[in-house]
Amino acid sequence: MNSIQRKIMSLSVIVLFIMAIIWVVLTYYNQKTQEQYNEVLQRYLRMNEMTNLSQQTIASLNVYLLQPTANTLDAFHVTTERILQANNEIAKLRTADNGFTLTNYMHMIESLVEAENRSVMFHDQKNNEFSAARFEEATRIHNYIVETTLSLIDKDLKTYDHFYRSIMAQSTELKRLGVWLLTFITVTLLLFAYWFSRSITMPIHKLTVAARELARGKFEQRIEVHSNDEISFLARTFDRMRININDLISEIHRTAQLELELKESKLLLKESQLRSLQSQINPHFLFNTLDTLSKKAYLEGSLETSDLIANVAGLLRYNLRRLDRSVTLREEVNVVLKYIEIQQARFADRLRFVQQVDERWLHVHLPCLTLQPIIENAVIHAVEPLEEGGTIVFRILSEDGERVRIEIEDSGAGMAPEQVQRMLEEQPQERGNAQGHSTGIGFSNVVKRLRLFTGVEDVLEIDSGLQQGTKVTLKIPVA
C-alpha cells in the first residue's frame, strides 16, 4: 500500500541485514580465533602446572622426611593425589606429534610418584639410606619432568607453528576481506541508493514539470509517469484533472462564442426589424389599398396592372413577416420571381432574367429574405445603370447532394477584388447604396445571417472582376 514507505523500509532492512551478517561473521571469526588462542594457552598452562605440581610433591616429600608427622604425610598425599589427577587430565593434550613424548611424560610422573611413595615406605621402615636414594631418584625424575615439559612445549610450538601462521594469514585475509567488503558495500549501497532515490524523485520531477506546464496554461500535454508507487497514482489523478480542466476551458470558450453569436444575431434582427418598422406605417391600410387597386385594375380590364399590384402586395407581406424564422427555398424563389416580375414591368426588355431551377432542392431551409436582396443588388448594379440593360442568371443546383448551390450571375461592370473582400468581411456598405434597397436589407446583413444560420464561413462566394460581371454563389447545406 504505502509503496514509498515500503521501499525505504526494504532498503533499511537490506542494509541492516548486510551489516548484521558482516557483524556476525566477524564476531564469529574473532571468537573462534580467540578460542583457539585460549586452547593453546591452556595447553601451556597445564604443562607448566605439571612442573609446579611435581615440584610441590618433591617439596612436600622433603618436608615429610624432615618432619615425619601425620600432617606432613597428609600434605604429601594431597599433592601426589593432585599430580595424579592432573596426569589424567594431561592425556587430553595428545596430538599426532607429541604422542610418544606425552606418554613418556605421563609415565614419568607415575614413576615420580612411585619413587616418592617408595621413599616414604623405606622411611617408615626406618631404612633411611634407601629412602634417601629414592628421594634422590625422585628429584632426578622431577628434573627430567621439567626438561620433558620444556621439550613438550617446544614440540607444541613446532606443531602449532603452522597453526599460528594460519591464524595470522587468516586474520590478514579477514582484513583484506573487510576492506573489499567495505568498498563493495559502499559502492553497491551508493548505486542502490542513487537508483532508489531516482525511482522516487524522477516521477516527482516529471510531475513538477507537468504542473509547471499546466500553470502556464498548456493543457494538451499528457502527463505520463511510470512508477509503481503513489506518485503514479498522483500523476494519474493529475492527468484526469488536466483533462477535466481542458474540457471545462473549451466548454467556456464555446459558450462565449455562442453568446457572442447570439448577441450579434439579436443585433442584426433588431436592425432589420427597425428597418421593416420604418416601412410599416400602416401595413393593413397599405395591403387593403393595394388589394383594392388590384381588383379595380382587374375590373377595368387592366390585367397586367392588377397582377403587378398583387405582386407588390405579396412582396410587401413577405417582407413584413418575422425575419427570425427560416423559410424554404421555394418561398424565397417565389418572392424572387414576384420581384423580377415587378422589375420587368419597370425595365421591360432591358432586364433579361434566366432561371435554371432544380426543383428537387426547393425544400432546403434558409433565412428569410436572403435571395431577394442579392437579386436586387444585381438589378441595381447590372441593369439600372446601363442603357442596354443586363442579364441576370439564377441557378439552383447541387453537385454533391450535400450542399445546394444557388448562383446569381449578372452581366454588370463587376467589382474590384478589394471591394469583393470588403463585402465578404461583412463591412457595411456606404449608406447611399443601402438606401436603394426595397426591403432595406443590405448585402452585409445577408452575409452575416447566412453565416450565423449555417455556421459555415464560406457559405457565400463572390466571383467578380472589373468588366467581367459578378457571380454570387451560395452554398447551403441540405440538412
Partner: protein, 328 residues
C-alpha cells in the same frame, strides 16, 4: 553517455564483487589445521613405545641404524624415537637411559657402554621395572647388564677378518700398530681379541697396542709419539672408528701414505673417501640399517612373546672387508 556510465558502473561493480568473493573464498578455504587430539594419536598410545639410545647421534652409521629401526617400527605399528647424545657425552647418555626407564617405555635399544653406571641402570633399574634392553652395534657382557640380546656386528669376527687381510697384504712379517681408544669398550676388546688371535700364528708379526683418548688432540699426539718411537711400523689398524683419518693426516705430514698398510673399521664417508684414495688399504663395513631393523624386529617379537627367550649370544649382522680398489 548514460549507457556508457551504466556499463562502466556495472563492470566496476562486477570487479568489486569478484574480489570480495575471492577474498571471502580465500578466508573460508583457509581452514585452520588444528593439531587436535587425533584418534590415531590415541591408538599410538597403545602401540609399543621403543627408544633407541646412542652416544653418536646423527653420525652416518647411526643415521643408517635409525633408518632401519624406523622402517621396522613403522611396519609393526610401534612408535619409536631415537634418543642420544652427540660426541659421546656419557653422563647425558646415561641420563637418557634413566629417562627412558622412568618413562616406562616398552623397550630400550641401546648402544652398549661398558661402564658400572650403565650396568647399574640396565641391571637394577631397567630389569627392576621390567623393561627389556637390547644392545645394538656395541655389546656389553650379558651377565653384567642383563641385556636380552645383542644385535650387531660380530666384532671378534671383524677383527679376525681385518687381521687376515693384513697378513695377505703385508706378508707374515712386520710391525703392526693397533690404535685403540683408552676407553676400552667391549667391541674394541672383541676386535682386538680377533686381530691378536690371527696374528698370534705369525711370530714374525710384532704388534704394538697404542691407546689414546677419543679427542682429536689426543689421537694426534699419540700418533706423533708412535711415529717417533716406532719408525719401523709397517701397518696401522684403527680399532676405534674415527682414528684412521687422523693417523693418515699425521703420516702425510711426514711422508707418503702408500707404503703403510692402514686398516680401519666402520665405513663412514670419511673412511670411505680415504679408501677410495687408497690411503686406507681395507676396512670392515658393517650393516647398520640391518642392525636397526633387526633390533626393532626382535624387540617387538619378544614383547609379543613370539621369540622367548632371545639368543643371549646375540644376532650378528653381516660384516665384510672392503679393499682399496674394490671399493665402488
Amino acid at each position: 553517455m548514460r549507457q556508457l556510465a551504466i556499463a562502466a558502473l556495472s563492470i566496476g561493480f562486477l570487479i568489486l564483487f569478484y574480489f570480495t568473493l575471492h577474498a571471502a573464498y580465500k578466508l573460508f578455504a583457509s581452514d585452520l589445521p588444528v593439531p587436535g587430539q587425533e584418534l590415531a594419536a590415541e591408538a599410538d598410545s597403545r602401540a609399543y613405545r621403543l627408544v633407541v639410545i646412542t652416544q653418536e647421534l646423527d653420525t652416518p652409521f647411526w643415521l643408517q641404524v635409525k633408518k632401519g629401526a624406523l622402517s621396522a617400527a613403522a611396519q609393526r605399528g610401534a612408535s619409536l624415537e631415537m634418543w642420544g647424545t652427540y660426541s659421546s657425552d656419557r653422563k647425558e647418555f646415561l641420563k637418557q637411559i634413566e629417562i627412558a626407564i622412568a618413562s616406562k617405555v616398552d623397550g630400550i635399544i641401546v648402544q652398549g657402554l661398558n661402564t658400572p653406571e650403565f650396568t647399574y641402570l640396565t641391571k637394577i633399574k631397567a630389569a627392576g621395572s621390567g623393561i627389556p634392553i637390547l644392545t645394538v652395534a656395541n655389546d656389553v657382557p650379558m651377565n653384567d647388564s642383563l641385556r636380552r640380546t645383542y644385535v650387531g656386528s660380530d666384532h671378534l669376527a671383524a677383527g679376525r677378518m681385518i687381521a687376515r687381510q693384513l697378513i695377505e697384504d703385508m706378508g707374515s712379517s712386520g710391525k703392526v700398530v693397533l690404535m685403540v681408544s683408552d676407553r676400552q669398550e667391549d667391541y674394541q676388546r672383541s676386535r682386538l681379541k680377533g686381530i691378536l688371535e690371527v696374528l698370534k700364528a705369525y711370530p714374525q708379526v710384532k704388534t704394538e697396542i697404542v691407546a689414546s683418548g677419543d679427542e682429536k688432540d689426543a689421537v694426534v699426539s699419540a700418533t706423533d709419539d708412535l711415529l717417533n718411537t716406532q719408525p719401523d711400523a709397517k701397518a696401522f689398524i684403527a680399532v676405534a672408528a674415527n682414528h684412521a683419518s687422523i693417523i693418515i693426516q699425521e703420516i702425510e705430514k711426514r711422508s707418503r701414505v702408500e707404503p703403510y698398510y692402514i686398516y680401519a673399521f666402520d665405513d663412514s664417508p670419511e673412511t670411505m673417501t680415504l679408501l677410495k684414495q687408497s690411503k686406507i688399504d681395507a676396512l670392515v663395513a658393517q650393516s647398520p640399517e640391518l642392525m636397526g631393523e633387526l633390533s626393532v624386529k626382535l624387540m617387538t617379537e619378544w614383547l609379543d612373546g613370539k621369540v622367548v627367550p632371545l639368543n643371549p649370544d646375540g644376532y650378528f649382522t653381516q660384516v665384510r672387508v672392503l679393499r682399496a680398489g674394490e671399493a665402488e
